[in-house]
């Protein structure tokens, strides 16, 4: 009879709801994917911050001061080249603490742990049996009861841990996602600056090139010099990537024309023109590398932010989980796709950085 009561009680406790393990797996796996992808983002973030700080510092220092390759006064602190940036470190710690929190949730959801508690209690009852006569079945029943009690305790503990921890996890992920956006914005601002300055230099060189042509008369008769049409076509082709820039769009294509009243076109003129054309082509490559890098960053940052969003959605699913397990197939496919996108674009960013 005692055993029957224990079993009924156990069934009642079991009916109080289960820990939503599928939703928990969905959430922890989403987070794991985002955490794995975070290294590339944190490195990228640190580099952008350094670039931004150097840029600001360069603006603050008067340009007419002599170059200082070493500190001219003894530094107050020993510089630590390996010191981790505090913003990067805070995000890294944010991921770490969420990992520990998730590990605690997973431990609470562990099926074997309540059975181990039951086994411990059964062991105690059995050991006591040597002193006090106890029926063998009772030891097992008390063990089952202890197992169910432990399950119920864990369910309660899980719910409480979720209620108190999930909002904090969500806020941490929201702040990191906001940093992804700010990092991208800083890259855009740096790229806008570099792109504008290099495009300006290109326009100046093109003006110079037009100037050289306009001071020369067309070579008379057959010559070994490159034909004007070929020069024009080459210039138009090279400048095509810039042709949509405001101000350049109206001037493009930049016409090259000889001056009938100009000086004779010589080998020296040809050499100057070739050198200018080469310089323009080199600068356009740099201009394109800036654009390629930011475009790759846009794709990887968007994919990474989406990964953080998927994690937040799966956390919400875990909080709201009922008997119906969420469809994890779609989520797994999305995470795989995003992880692949990030990996591909990180390679592109690296390649563009080398090219820039």
């Amino acid at each position: 009879m005692t055993r029957l009561y224990l079993v009924l009680l156990a069934l009642l406790l079991a009916g109080c709801g289960e820990i939503p393990k599928d939703a928990l797996t969905g959430y922890t796996e989403s987070f794991r994917a985002a955490h794995d992808a975070s290294d590339a983002f944190l490195v990228q973030f640190g580099q952008t911050k350094q670039e931004a700080e150097s840029f600001i510092q360069a603006r603050e220092e008067p340009s007419n001061l002599p170059f200082k390759p070493y500190p001219d006064v003894l530094p107050a602190h020993v510089p630590n080249g390996d010191a981790i940036d505090p913003d990067v470190e805070a995000m890294r710690l944010g991921f770490e603490v969420i990992s520990r929190y998730n590990a605690a949730l997973v431990a609470l959801a562990d099926d074997k742990a309540p059975e181990a508690v039951g086994a411990s209690v059964s062991g105690l009852i059995a050991a006591l049996g040597d002193f006090v006569p106890v029926a063998g079945t009772v030891a097992g029943a008390v063990g089952s009861f202890a197992t169910e009690l432990e399950r119920a305790r864990r369910r309660g503990e899980f719910r409480q841990a979720l209620d108190s921890g999930a909002p904090t996890v969500r806020e941490i992920l929201t702040l990191i996602a906001a940093n992804v956006e700010t990092d991208y914005d800083s890259n855009v601002k740096l790229a806008d600056n570099a792109r504008t300055l290099i495009a300006s230099e290109i326009v100046d060189r093109v003006t110079e090139l037009q100037g050289v042509f306009s001071t020369c008369a067309a070579p008379a008769g057959a010559s070994t010099f490159t034909a004007l049409d070929d020069r024009q076509a080459a210039l138009d082709g090279v400048l095509e990537p810039l042709s949509k820039e405001l101000g350049i769009a109206t001037a493009y294509p930049y016409p090259l024309a000889f001056n009938p009243a100009g000086t004779p076109y010589t080998a020296e003129s040809e050499a100057v023109i070739t050198a200018l054309a080469l310089k323009i082509a080199e600068m356009v490559v740099q201009y394109e590398a800036i654009i390629a890098r930011v475009n790759a960053l846009a794709r990887s940052s968007a994919a990474y932010r989406q990964m953080l969003n998927v994690t937040q959605r799966s956390l919400t699913a875990l909080e709201q989980a009922d008997d119906a397990p969420p469809d994890l197939t779609q989520q797994a496919a999305e995470l795989l796709r995003l992880a692949f996108l990030i990996k591909t674009h990180v390679e592109e960013i690296r390649a563009a950085r080398v090219g820039a």
């Binding site: 911050k49 931004a52 700080e53 840029f55 600001i56 603006r59 913003d87 805070a90 995000m91 710690l93 944010g94 603490v97 969420i98 520990r100 929190y101 605690a104 431990a107 609470l108 742990a113 181990a116 508690v117 411990s120 209690v121 062991g123 105690l124 050991a127 040597d130 002193f131 202890a146 009690l149 432990e150 305790r153 503990e157 841990a161 108190s164 921890g165 904090t168 996890v169 806020e171 941490i172 702040l175 906001a178 700010t182 914005d185 800083s186 601002k189 740096l190 806008d192 600056n193 504008t196 300055l197 495009a199 300006s200 326009v203 100046d204 003006t207 820039e245 405001l246 101000g247 001037a251």
Partner: protein, 109 residues
């Protein structure tokens, strides 16, 4: 920062950039004019970057507080069962008592 402020900043930035590009991409602007435009562009970029750095700094302070908060939550989670710990301890004591009892019994006999 509100969405309206962010949009307003973006609009001002875009307008300023367009203005400066108008000078920098011009074939007729004087060299001095371009030099001033370049300096203004660098100032504009530096201002925007400084704003971003400050924003991240503020988030880092919030993030640090949230990390402490979540750590406290973790510390309060009771993963291990006290019942199991007590049962294991008592089982050990009972086993020890049983050995002593058996020994006593043998000595008495």
């Amino acid at each position: 920062m509100t969405e309206t402020t962010t949009k307003a900043i973006k609009k001002s930035y875009d307008e300023a950039l367009a203005e400066l590009q108008g000078i920098l991409f011009s074939q007729t602007a004087a060299k001095a004019e371009k030099t001033v435009a370049k300096a203004a562009l660098n100032d504009l970029t530096a201002t925007m970057l400084a704003q971003n750095l400050r924003t991240v700094e503020g988030r880092t302070a919030l993030l640090s507080a949230l990390i402490v908060e979540l750590q406290q939550t973790i510390d309060s989670i009771k993963v291990d069962s006290k019942i199991a710990a007590v049962a294991d301890k008592l089982t050990g004591l009972v086993a020890k008592a049983k050995d002593l009892f058996t020994k006593e019994k043998k000595d008495l006999v």
